[in-house]
């Protein structure tokens, strides 16, 4: 007799990076085409650590050793303009913009994120929960675009400048 878990039952995995994590079937995202470099990995969950609110970890369920940090590209690149190629629109059934999400793979998160892959964003249809990495048909972006000073730091710098200006300056 097969001991299959009932629908919505919790499955617990021991993740080398994040420890024990329980997920439901509804939490799983399917990547039917795999990911370049990880072509055999098809099932993923998304993990967010309390200490890293700007990073989402795309955690493979097929190989628990594989987890890729993803981030909101517009957080760092406000003019990012990924035109979805027709193969992506058709294969992911992308219609309304609010039905899908576009995230970028980050590199160098151990010492703080340093690069973002804007050439090939991860696109996920939120209704079907099917995702795919989509290489854009453009030479505007690369796989490793330097992340500018984080927004928080920029804000702090702006505040510091404003404070300095508020002080009477003798000229």
């Amino acid at each position: 007799m097969v001991n299959a878990p009932a629908e919505s039952a919790l499955t617990t995995v021991d993740l080398p990076r994040f420890g024990k994590c329980s997920y439901k079937e509804e939490d799983v995202f399917a990547f039917p085409w795999g990911l370049p470099g990880f072509e055999d990995l098809r099932m993923f969950i998304v993990i967010q650590l309390e200490t890293q609110d700007s990073i989402l970890w795309l955690q493979s369920l097929d190989d628990v050793n594989v987890s890729l940090p993803l981030g909101d590209p517009w957080l760092f690149f406000p003019d990012y303009d990924p035109k979805m190629p027709s193969f992506a629109r058709l294969s992911l059934d992308l219609r309304e913009a609010e039905d899908y999400t576009i995230l970028a793979v980050m590199v160098g998160t151990d010492g703080g994120p340093t690069f973002m892959n804007l050439l090939a964003p991860i696109v996920v249809n939120l209704k079907t929960r099917i995702g795919r990495q989509v290489p854009l048909e453009t030479s505007r972006y690369t796989c490793a675009m330097q992340i500018p000073v984080p927004a928080a730091v920029a804000e702090a710098q702006a505040k510091a400048r404003a404070a300095a200006q508020a002080e009477p300056v003798s000229e």
Partner: protein, 85 residues
């Protein structure tokens, strides 16, 4: 690997609906025209290889200290809207 010789403007067909035609030949550069169904992704091989390398490099080698609590699976929200085209 199947190797075929083609002259200028000659083409090959892959399956029923992928046509590749030699558009021009200039020294060591061959220009190809590719006609494929809209759902078929077509990329330069170097681009795909670069994405493979970038993805492998993105997986961190080191494991964070156990003090970083594992979280329950998160959900995804729709992106901020990219500019309308």
């Amino acid at each position: 690997m199947l190797v075929l010789s083609r002259k200028l403007n000659q083409s090959i067909v892959i399956g029923d609906d992928i046509h590749i035609v030699v558009v021009s030949v200039d020294r060591d550069t061959v220009k190809l025209g590719i006609q494929a169904p809209r759902e078929v992704p077509v990329h330069r091989a170097e681009v795909y290889e670069e994405i493979q390398r970038a993805n492998r490099a993105a997986v961190p080698g080191t494991v964070p200290p156990p003090s970083q609590r594992p979280a329950a699976p998160a959900n995804l929200k729709s992106s901020r809207q990219p500019p309308k085209t």
